[in-house]
Symmetry: C2
Subunit: 243 residues, 2 copies
């Protein structure tokens, strides 16, 4: 069974071969979990980052709104993800982070994070590793936006999200929760929601995957991977694999 803190513990342990004590101290340093409604900003562009966020339940995203009102989502944050571990090095956020669904999150005061990181090198390495993987995901998005058409792009994103959910034990069979509207997907993929809809219909009619009722079901993962040209090596999941 997956309890609230589980996804985070599972993820951070997979990243760094950490001793149980290291993780426990991090968990103990965190503030009590808080519920946040959907469509709220956890932090806004221009703010000075001051805490470490960990998402225990729900989905959030990094995004930026352009002058013309268009929104571009640059990353999805799912249960177990944490963000801005060392963003305190920078003066202000160059983007915002907002919830997409109701979320359960914990924050860790920056001072405590820094103390912990200094005292436990294994934790430093785990955070570094997570940071590098996040960067790999950003690069994969650039490849998608630059060189894949809408069908391939949707397929690739679905596989990324499915793989990440699997890595924190949140998939069953070939399906997982995926509470993203077609508007949100469009904002992430650089497409309109109208076209996302048409692509999803195509994938559904071909019996490859279904997205509905806030749930992703992959029916033919081979075909989906072939469409996307998906190779999960960029998620660097070599240790602590979850079946």
């Amino acid at each position: 069974m997956v309890t609230p803190a589980n996804a985070f513990v599972r993820k951070i342990k997979a990243y760094g071969l950490l001793a149980d004590g290291d993780v426990r101290r991090l968990v103990e340093a965190s503030d009590p979990p808080r519920k946040i409604a959907a469509h709220r900003d956890l932090i806004r562009e221009g703010d000075k980052p001051s805490v470490l966020f960990v998402i225990l339940e729900g989905w959030a995203c990094r995004y930026k709104v352009l002058p013309d009102g268009n929104r571009q989502i640059m990353a999805f944050l799912m249960p177990g993800d944490f963000c801005d571990v060392h963003a305190g090095e920078l003066e202000e956020m160059d983007h915002s982070i907002g919830t997409l669904t109701p979320c359960l999150i914990v924050t860790v005061p920056r001072r405590d994070v820094e103390a912990l990181v200094i005292s436990t090198p294994a934790l430093t390495r785990a955070f570094w590793r997570a940071q590098l993987i996040d960067e790999g995901v950003l690069r994969a998005w650039i490849v998608s936006m630059g060189r894949r058409n809408a069908l391939e792009r949707v397929a690739h994103l679905m596989l990324e999200l499915y793989a990440r959910m699997r890595n924190v034990g949140l998939t069953t069979d070939h399906s997982c929760e995926l509470p993203l509207t077609q508007v949100v997907l469009g904002d992430a993929l650089g497409l309109t929601s109208v076209h996302v809809n048409r692509v999803l219909r195509e994938l559904r009619q071909q019996g490859i995957m279904e997205l509905g009722a806030r749930t992703l079901r992959i029916l033919d993962i081979i075909a989906l991977g072939k469409i996307a040209g998906f190779d999960d090596n960029y998620l660097h999941r070599k240790i602590g694999k979850v079946a």
Copy 2:
């Protein structure tokens, strides 16, 4: 005057309020500079990263080649840039890095980097900061690819590269060296070189900027910034500003 190592020293100092001694020790740990021809890989997808690269002269890029032969460039590396400081945490590269022009580079053995980083916290912070800024650049690219048309995209990239060149003191007046072919620009922007050409003509005819003879000249930086919707806050250049 800009000597080979200058751009790097200038950049690393701007990042971390470092003592001169810290920088000197890093420079002293580096191997002798090496010349690399154009169109050579410094490191390939699948390789285990083993050294820290610093580019003293010339341009390189992070890229990935898709199964259909298309190339997507995900980042440009210019004089002063370093890469993969802590990528040793990961098992293998998920992309390649190749030179675009002849380059002068130095490498620092990973062991020495790690020893230096451990002994000088200021250096750790400087590398963190550089890493976070690189991430911001990746996010800005995603915004461009997702929500800007070809004209805006070209304008934004030109301003990014100009700003970064300015930050290491490699601009004069409103121009700088920019030895990128239109094919390379297309590979970076997710466009064809044909369309890049048309966009550059448009910008030239409107008297906004000129790109030719491996040189970028910005004639109307206000107009260019307006087209691009450019805001350089994501480059986080708050200290050590170069005029």
